[in-house]
Symmetry: C2
Subunit: 122 residues, 2 copies
């Protein structure tokens, strides 16, 4: 795509249990605004894509390799390709941005979820 | 880099007059949290990098090619490589995320600015 989108106009897709994303894809990157329900867990996984993230709201306990941190709004994470990582949302849930390069192809076809209002911005 | 950063711990760099960024670079991407002073202008420019952006706070008038929009929090923009674009911050200024692929090398060496508290999150 090229141009402008508003978050609420993007398809809401189920990534994992309790984790949904609204995603834009380009030629080199994918950018997702990802909502995690309270306590939702992204089990340890890895992928060849480089991943950057920024917490927009709420809190999340994030592990990259063998380092774990409690993150809140304004905290950034950088995950090189193939490095295992896991995350668990705090008690109010969390909204993060995740950016990937190359394109996260499997997110194009992730299951569509029921529409809902974006949780961020409030 | 790999791991965790907090926004306030990143160098604040001058990109243009009234426009500063805190940036992380990887192997394939650069992610900047960019603060524009009220009325600050990014003159028309283009670059080979694909660029995605998301408005975090404030307002910005953005032009991509021949399409212009007024954007606020939660609005996204996608700029393919080499497409001319320009932006002007609203009266309260704005904070946006800009992500580039490949790495925006010239932002590594952009002039360091005086330290300041990040304007977002508030």
């Amino acid at each position: 795509m090229s141009g402008f989108e508003d978050l609420g106009g993007l398809d809401r897709r189920r990534i994992w249990e309790g984790i949904h994303a609204r995603v834009v894809h380009g030629e080199r990157m994918s950018l997702g605004v990802v909502e995690l329900d309270p306590g939702a867990v992204a089990l340890e996984h890895s992928h060849p894509h480089e991943q950057f993230g920024l917490v927009l709201s709420g809190s999340i306990r994030f592990t990259i390799g063998d380092e774990t941190r409690e993150l809140g709004p304004g905290d950034l994470y950088v995950i090189p390709g193939e490095v295992p990582h896991t995350a668990e949302a705090g008690p109010e849930g969390t909204v993060v941005i995740d950016v990937f390069s190359p394109v996260r192809e499997e997110w194009r076809t992730a299951e569509s979820a029921d529409p809902a209002e974006p949780r961020w911005p409030e």
